[in-house]
């Protein structure tokens, strides 16, 4: 019996068929199941509404004594390897910080994934997903969370691999007037971690829907779309042939291979030869024409069928949050919210474990890029759009490599930022016709705030 129960499991399914006479074994099994369910819902004596603000943390017993903590009214969970695990409220954590006592959040007790799916483990790429493993795990999420998760086939790569989008939402099969946020990963083949973070975001939202009221609110009031792997052909080549491969697998016909998918979007495509290259053998070759590559075109088509309010495209590496413009050093205008959100995300990432993610306008903080995803999303669709370059911070610290043991910690670092962005979109979202008085004068203008979009266009 899994503690990950879908809503239909909350009812006593099957009892009529089996009758009321239950064997002792079945009674025990059901008691156990009910206990697990009870604990998952009301774990640690907290009701679901409160659980989101409570957190299990651990403290070093060399720095703190149990009587001292007991005097503060903290609930002890256990003592293990010199650390004391306690349940803490926000006030407790403020008090601990005020007393200069260091503590670690313990995601294993906080609903976050603590192990990569077994299907992803093994193989040349270790715990990272291959295209096939990702397909299996996305389908598994869909099957394990009916009503909350749906996997869409949004296109085919050059080599014929399916491109998948995971939609996470309450009543997922219906097109409801809700905020839509898109998370992309795996534009660049060698950036394996960029596939994992959006995948685990989807998994986190689904696995914690029942137990965490914050997650439930997000899922019930938004549509979170996740395309964890935009470039499956490139990823497979990176796994099986050359680890540092970046582009897709287009045969350019001149002996070179690949188009940089993150230079293939049509907004300011080919603006200059600094932000992308017309040379096929360049690592930033932009392709023969905008959206010449089916992988980028699939993202475009997903956009056309929806009305996203924000976008994050995960990449690696450098620990930076970029927002448009990338094609020009002209400062972006009318984007105060986008800038503020970047600062907010950076702050939330730092709050997890102290990791510092810089943020700023892409072309000013980093280098010029044109035909890039977030310029396109902001320039043509007017939505806040971010490239988050994940860890590490430098090539000497690992570059495009992350140890397998870092996958979940990097996800955990980035989780609050993603949730923050979704919640912001939810809070600002107004359904079509909202505020429309008899004269229609009260209807808000979508053009004035990129966070407010209509939801007339739908579908995967």
């Amino acid at each position: 019996m899994s503690i990950k129960l879908s809503r239909k499991h909350l009812f006593f399914r099957g009892s009529r068929r089996e009758g009321w006479v239950l064997s002792r074994k079945k009674i025990f099994q059901r008691f156990l199941a009910a206990s697990v369910l009870f604990l998952s819902l009301f774990g640690l004596g907290l009701n679901p509404q409160e659980q989101e603000t409570w957190q299990v943390i651990s403290l070093d017993l060399k720095q703190v004594s149990k009587p001292q903590l007991a005097s503060w009214g903290l609930d002890f969970l256990m003592e293990k390897e010199g650390r004391l695990y306690v349940v803490s409220s926000p006030q407790d954590r403020i008090r601990l910080a005020g007393a200069n006592l260091a503590y670690h959040p313990e995601p294993a007790f906080s609903g976050r994934p603590v192990a990569v799916p077994s299907s992803a483990a093994g193989g040349i790429n270790g715990d990272y997903h291959s295209a096939d493993e990702l397909k299996t795990d996305l389908r598994s999420l869909e099957a394990g969370h009916p009503g909350l998760a749906k996997v869409y086939d949004i296109g085919r790569s050059l080599e014929g691999r399916a491109l998948y989008a995971l939609k996470v939402s309450g009543n997922v099969g219906a097109a409801e007037p809700e905020a839509q946020v898109l998370f992309l990963g795996g534009h660049h083949a060698r950036e394996w971690i960029s596939v994992e973070v959006p995948f685990f975001l989807g998994k986190y939202l689904l696995d914690n829907y029942l137990a965490d009221s914050r997650v439930r609110h997000i899922v019930d009031h938004s549509e979170v779309w996740i395309v964890p792997l935009v470039n499956p052909d490139g990823l497979e080549y990176s796994i099986h042939v050359y680890r540092y491969w970046r582009k897709n697998r287009r045969d350019n016909g001149d002996g070179s291979f690949g188009v940089d998918l993150n230079r293939n979007y049509d907004y300011q495509w080919g603006y200059d030869n600094l932000g992308s290259s017309p040379e096929p053998d360049s690592a930033v070759y932009r392709g023969r024409s905008p959206f010449s590559e089916p992988e980028a075109a699939a993202v475009r088509d997903l956009f056309r069928g929806n009305n996203f309010q924000a976008l994050i495209s995960y990449h690696s590496f450098s620990q930076t949050i970029y927002y448009p413009w990338g094609y020009s050093r002209r400062p972006v205008e009318n984007a105060e919210r986008m800038k503020a959100l970047a600062a907010g995300m950076s702050q939330r990432i730092q709050e997890v474990a102290g990791k510092v993610y810089r943020y700023g306008q892409s072309s000013l903080v980093s280098y010029l890029t044109n035909g890039e995803t977030t310029d396109w999303a902001f320039g043509l669709n007017g939505i806040p759009a971010y490239t988050i370059e994940l860890e590490p911070g430098s090539e000497q610290a690992g570059g495009f490599f992350n140890a397998e043991t870092e996958i979940l910690s990097i996800f955990n670092d980035n989780l609050p930022a993603a949730l923050y962005l979704i919640e912001d979109c939810i809070s600002r979202y107004r359904p079509p016709g909202w505020g429309e008085g008899p004269s229609g004068k009260e209807r808000p203008s979508a053009a004035g705030d990129p966070g407010i979009r209509s939801t007339e266009k739908r579908g995967g």
Binding site: G122, G123, I124, N125, G126, Y128, S130, D132, E133, E159, Y237, H240, V241, Y242, R243, Y244, W245, G255, S256, F257, G258, P392, S394, E395, Q396, A397, G398, G399, F401, N402, A403, E404
Partner: protein, 413 residues
Amino acid sequence: MYKLKIVVLLALGFLLAWHPFPLRGQMALGQYEEEAPVCTWNIFGPSGAAGLSLGDTMFTLAADASALFTNPALMTRLPSLAVSLGGSLQSADFFRYGPVNTGPLSTVGNAGLSTAAADLAAVSVRVLGWSVGLGLALSEIYDRPEAVARSASPYYLLSFSQSGYLRTLNLSLGREIIDGLSLGLGLNLVSGRWEWNLTDAWSGVTIIDSRTRSLSGYFFNGGLCWQASAGLSLAAVFRAPYQRKAASRSSLHYSAQSADILIQGSGEDTFYQPLVLGLGLACKFFDQFQFTGEMTYWNWSSYRASLLGEDVARDFRDTWKAGLGLECLSWLRLFKQYFDLPSRIGLVYDPQPMSSPRSSYINFSLGVGLYWKGIHLDLGTILGAENGSGRHLTAQRLALTLTVFSGPRPAKG
């Protein structure tokens, strides 16, 4: 004296057959997937120089003891004792393989690979009407031309190498069940190694991608041959489908000033080898001429490859390979001795299983033999030209086979 000769030949044959590490060698035409054998996917079995020069026909004529790998029934057509030893020289062109000409490494023109090998040891003995064969051969080679790109300033190094082999140990049994019709069955144990090394290094950073496989598996082969008339022989053969398994390990290591990251994997690779069926005929005419023709069907559409438990894409189609050969017998008197001098030519059509690009090889073969009493020395060569990949790959192989016969050849051999 006769018994001693048999014992010595048997001992020599078994000694060679059990030689644990055959040298590398096989014909090479250039293929792309990492598990692809050098030259061609359509390797039915190792054959001697005589079969090679007769258009790679190998299961209708009993030229030497290598027959046990291709059609064990042919052992009944050999003298009561046959011991064959073979070696070869080969060279081949490659274009796309591993990271070469698929992305990070480019070559100007095709890359070449040359190898030499002692690649065949087989013995066939007939006892109480049964023919028993034991052989060891190098059946597949996975080598690729080494590729290195480097620069001193800025420092940069990218190097790639791949090597490997598969050897087959065959134990066969054959018997003439009715007059002119023989059957044979062989058990084949395969084993081998495969290694891949890619090093990517630049200022302060080194990435080493190392992979190894220990290959193993077994399969059955068998066939029949029918002496339809004094001048006509017919044959049919099969090779059963089987799983070639590999204990596989991989290591991906990134080292830099502040990072030492190791991603390791281990597990089992599986390569599902297809069913192969073949038909052949050989007919004699004008006493001194002999014609052979063979066709083999390869059920490559059933081929599957799984690396560390994960299926990898291989879009293969079924293929038919065809070979034709013509042999002309003559003789030579030298040092007061008469030598038989068979000369041979052949033609082979060898389509490859990849659906894209569709690729096939046309091979032309040539050979000659020098036979004196029970000692046969055959020399054969095959020259291949590939069409379909756009790279005009070529391959050559020169094979030499020494066979020592003892005892009478069957009346209808």
